[in-house]
Subunit: 240 residues, 2 copies
Amino acid sequence: MTDYKFSPIGYVHSAYKEKFGIPRQPGLVNIPATIEIETAFSNDEAFRELETFSHIWVIFVFHGIEQGSNSKWKNMVRPPRLGGNKRVGVFASRSMFRPNPVGLSVVELESIERKKNKIIINIIGGDLLDQTPVLDIKPYIPYSDSVTSARAGYAVEQPEPKLKVSFSEQATSKITVAEDQYPMIKKIIEQILQLDPRPAYLADKNGNKKSEYAIKLYDYDLIWQVIKEEIIVTDLKKVK
Amino acid sequence: MTDYKFSPIGYVHSAYKEKFGIPRQPGLVNIPATIEIETAFSNDEAFRELETFSHIWVIFVFHGIEQGSNSKWKNMVRPPRLGGNKRVGVFASRSMFRPNPVGLSVVELESIERKKNKIIINIIGGDLLDQTPVLDIKPYIPYSDSVTSARAGYAVEQPEPKLKVSFSEQATSKITVAEDQYPMIKKIIEQILQLDPRPAYLADKNGNKKSEYAIKLYDYDLIWQVIKEEIIVTDLKKVK
């Protein structure tokens, strides 16, 4: 078998420091992120006219997965959309654990700017982990990419935001401080949590779900609980 | 820079033996093709539920391009949609000559079958060259992949089929013979040619376009001319 070797053209910078909490599909949330293009590819000409497109495809590597071994992927996966109970084939899923760990997301293109010798692409869109290696950027071309007649199998309906999100006094005051550096952080927290990121399979021996959760967001641990199907943010702890 | 290594999970079999003639975007034509999955990945479980989706993403390698060198890509390309005159950035194009030669096409999923120890995926869709290495297959999920609000820059409108295609007596009788092996061949020829595959830049020193063209299709050379903006198929020559 022939191998193909690819080098990242850039890397994502986003609020997401870990997989837990990332919306299961892009487009569900409006969270800003950037793609920092490597110097070798940061030629203005290479991006000319890209800003005339409202959306772009980001083809990326699911990183943090052991390379060069297939030990991590299985023929069947349990998509979170199915409550973690039903299994489907890996190629019928968008799971990150796949033979070639290549991901595909459409994101909104906000702007393109230059910082010193690097091009920075500002995007709005959902599911890219911080430090994700980007292999390619392509324009989203509606007449070929938007298949309005397409039927989806088990993921037909967009999940509606459903949970109410409240903040403890402690969380509120810490968020106020964090907003100096991350003005969008409260909006980001609300968008992530109302989608109910609790993994279906995370239950103790008695079948009870955990009651307290932590999500790494920027350089914080976001601490939250679920009480009577309402999400309460209890703390935002600085890490490091 | 980190390199990532990927192995194809399968290979495309299609009528297209060369780049010339391939529609510039998938979805413009209804041409059958297959993806033959490598034995190592031909486990029925890995494709379970995929058939519940009407469309799939094929992530592939633009092959036949020298690997391991960047000699073939340039910062600016001339998209055929712009008549080959205007240049745009490579990342604002779907050109095959790009830093990481990865392609992305949505195709219609017709059926999945098994032939001995291999899974064969029957697809309908436009632009995949024969022997294209496939890196990944993902379900097309309309609510995230179909961005109906997206605006495109220079490629807003789907080009309409525009040229009339006629057949000489010689071509007609040879096509009749070829139909024994390739029942769809006439329909395929019509679909490809009515999109006017003449490359804009193919002109002689005096600016006149060539008058006779050949497209490799299956194991044939399809010979055609353009007379008064009408396409006349003059021959279908068996090669080899």
